[in-house]
Symmetry: C2
Subunit: 501 residues, 2 copies
């Protein structure tokens, strides 16, 4: 059995190398590649992913997994070997169910759709994008049918990003959130001016923004010997190994939080990847467990740490040293309130911690309505705007501020959006547990000591890689399935206090 | 036949994508990769090259080449298709002759040897490096035996870098050069102080060095839409496609020419790669024809253009604008003489245009003596120093300034060095032809018009990619085989005038 396991691992290591190589190419594409490189880069990425896929769906891997099944079950569930066999089998079964022909049709359709979307968004013309979205949508529907489902057609799509999570679970979570958040947003909306953040809108030298963002990332534990930050049009985190985890960011000249919190957010993702156990390197476990769990890490560091009162008690003097002109007369408490200002707005990625959730819910509901035939692609702009009015009380001035704003659908990423909200929820649940285990966590932050939090996350979460699902992790860590209550309580407490509700 | 040819091209395109992906990973390794990334990068590069090799030596490719042989011969020799079939067959036959086991032994041995060499060089201890060099040398000897030869064992090694070139040809070329250059060096050595270059040794702001190097690269034709410059410990050029050709450089704080001419040199390489015909993309022809021919391009732009009197007539005002303090009182003529100062020195990569050739000759002679058993690895330091005294009249103070200075042997690159000198020779021969075809080339340079030169090189050389060998190109362009005379004449004329010999 050991021999078969080694053969499986050898093959997985090769496939992992191919994925990591593709990640390097993707990183370069977003950071340094000159415009001329685009077409060849497309070929190179297609070839790498084609070879990796071919090698993964090889019959030999199926046979090895079959032969190793009982052996895997005889080992402790959470052991490396049992988990490698179990998780690889899950991936393999999914990969085998989709015909290669469909995979390449999706690749072709989304490559085109992405280009059309980019232009359509610029010109705010949904009608240009609609036929391409329809095509991508039809293909992804076929893809979902190939994977199969017993309850909802959204299930297999969601499963790609959040394994084992079901649409009905998300719906009941979201129903609860909606019931609690919509009134909170309405209450805050009547007191918008209770919080001033005008001092955040000033000119900020870009090099200084860069320096202070690096300082913050290093402070909370990002190891630059095993990572780096570069500039990119859209911030992201990518890994080429556990010891080479990179983030990107971009700065706005006249609004400080955009770049600063992007760096902290991406650092949260990066800390997760840097915290994986080295024994998992080059296996199918050497990644975060799911997109939702990944987002719980980025959101925790961005919001529960980076937008906390304790953080600004610590960090405000550094900020004043970097930007004396801009912040000389701003107190830590003013900064804390300023970076937490709530304001219903059109664009998801610019939304505050409270309204953000409603942006996600809207997308989740529209995706389901589309998939279940309750609306059609052409109805999307209107359906979008109706929901914006209902949840946030505002109407987008045009489709580029509405239905065209996100890249996800052009990529065929239906089922992706809920993971952002699941991340918020899981982060709050984790943080409740962390406060029980480390009661003096806030004083730690005030002293600039983030190590206890990072150690806790490494021990309880990061170390496991992809071994467990969200439900398994939640039970393991908190003794129960995913709970929405801690997130609602966190939001209500924080924002009632800030807005004096 | 068209179908078989398409199948061959499809496979070559995939292999080319893998090589280009590996090139991206190699570039990142030298430019931006954090230290932690090194081990995983080794795995990724090994996997990519292993898969590319496996796909290339596949029997199917052999069969396709066999079936296409007569078809290829029925087409014009210089047509794309005939050349793809012919050159791929040449590569394939070589690749099949070497057992995969030997390839991976060489990879392992050179990886170790490189690490040991780096340390041994720092500490100037040849004895640490000797056993590793011996191992690499033994393996490369076996490699040469696998490839086979009729005359000299050096032939198959040389052939890897300069296809079809023979050791005996190089020897007779080098004998002629030695006869002419050694006396020239001795004559100059007695008048070293005739040229002053002390003004080149001053502090130069690095950002300004960067800016002026970019300005020079753009001026001579490097397209930054299809390329870019980054910093790296050792300057190099790399391509990921014809439309993504990148250079790297490094600057010395207190010696201007190091960075400036490194950029021009690498730009010369890059102009070659940017000038390949797009029809050759993703075939085995989408590269420079050989290392020697590549070097002819870098050397031509660096020395025949960048160190010409016309260039400095044009460029001196820009240089004075960039560095007014340093160059206010330096004339274009002084600059021309300064950047052409000859001085016997220990380090090849810092050598001037005249003595450089002797550094190469020394290495070529030692490599042959080793391979033919006339000396042993342990004799190398002493043999090196004896030749340095003979050719340049100086003795290295230690082995890091002598036998340990170059990385090549630790990589197993025996047979590589002569291509540097072949490049110098071919550059001069080409330039003679260019002056016949474009009589007013010098006035063009003085006006900042490098387009006629670049156009000529593109038409006669760059466009062909790997279609032709050095001998074929030389006959095609100049009507005869490689000639050494133009190079000797060029050196004698230029340096007799500068030194008043």
């Amino acid at each position: 059995m050991q021999e078969k396991l080694n053969e499986l691992k050898r093959r997985l290591a090769e496939i992992s190398d191919l994925h990591n190589a593709a990640a390097v190419l993707g990183w370069d594409q977003q950071t340094y590649m000159p415009p001329g490189g685009a077409m060849a880069r497309g070929h190179q990425l297609a070839t790498l992913s084609h070879i990796a896929h071919e090698k993964f769906i090889d019959d030999t891997i199926g046979c090895l997994l079959e032969e190793l099944r009982d052996y895997g079950r005889s080992l402790p569930y959470d052991s490396d070997d049992a988990s490698i066999i179990r998780v690889t089998k899950r991936d393999y079964d999914k990969a085998r169910r989709v015909p290669p022909q469909l995979v390449s049709e999706i690749t072709t359709a989304t490559t085109q759709a992405f280009e059309v979307w980019r232009k359509a968004k610029e010109e705010s013309r949904f009608s240009d994008f609609a036929p391409h979205l329809q095509r991508v949508f039809d293909l992804k529907k076929r893809y979902a049918e190939c994977l199969g489902y017993t309850d909802r057609i959204y299930d297999p799509l969601l499963d790609d990003y959040e394994p084992d999570m079901k649409t009905s679970q998300v719906e009941s979570i979201f129903a609860y959130i909606k019931k609690e958040i919509v009134p909170l947003v309405h209450a805050i909306s009547s007191k918008l001016n209770a919080v001033d953040n005008s001092f955040l809108y000033q000119p900020f030298d870009e090099q200084k923004q860069w320096d202070i963002s690096i300082e913050a990332a290093r402070l909370i534990g990002y190891e630059f010997e095993r990572g780096r930050q570069d500039r990119a049009p859209h911030p992201f985190t990518t890994s080429f190994s556990i010891d080479d985890v990179r983030i990107t960011t971009r700065f706005m000249h006249d609004y400080f939080p955009a770049g600063f919190f992007a760096t902290i957010h991406e650092t949260g993702h990066a800390l997760y990847n840097q915290g994986l156990r080295h024994e998992l390197e080059r296996t199918s476990l050497a990644e975060g467990a799911s997109l939702g769990i990944h987002e719980s890490q980025s959101r925790m560091w961005e919001n529960l740490v980076g937008r906390s009162r304790s953080f600004w008690k610590l960090f405000m003097p550094r900020m004043q040293a970097a930007f004396p002109e801009q912040f000389r007369h701003v107190t830590a408490e003013q900064m804390y309130r300023g970076v937490n200002r709530v304001q219903p707005s059109f664009i998801r990625v610019e939304a505050d911690e409270v309204t953000y959730n409603l942006h996600i819910m809207l997308r989740f509901e529209l995706e389901n309505a589309l998939l279940e035939g309750r609306i059609h692609v052409n109805d999307l702009p209107e359906a979008w705007n109706v929901k914006m009015r209902e949840y946030l009380g505002i109407t987008p001035p045009d489709d580029s501020h509405g239905v065209l704003q996100d890249v996800h659908w052009s990529h065929g990423s239906f089922g992706y959006f809920p993971t952002y909200l699941l991340g918020n929820i899981f982060a709050a649940q984790l943080f409740d547990q962390i406060k029980k285990d480390i009661p003096d966590i806030d004083p730690c932050f005030e002293k600039g000591n983030f190590q206890p939090l990072l150690d806790w996350l490494r021990t309880h979460l990061h170390t496991h890689g992809r071994k467990f699902t969200l439900d398994e992790l939640s039970k393991k860590i908190a003794g129960e399935s995913l709970q929405t209550r801690p997130f609602i309580t966190y939001l209500k407490n924080k924002y009632s206090e800030i807005y004096g509700l």
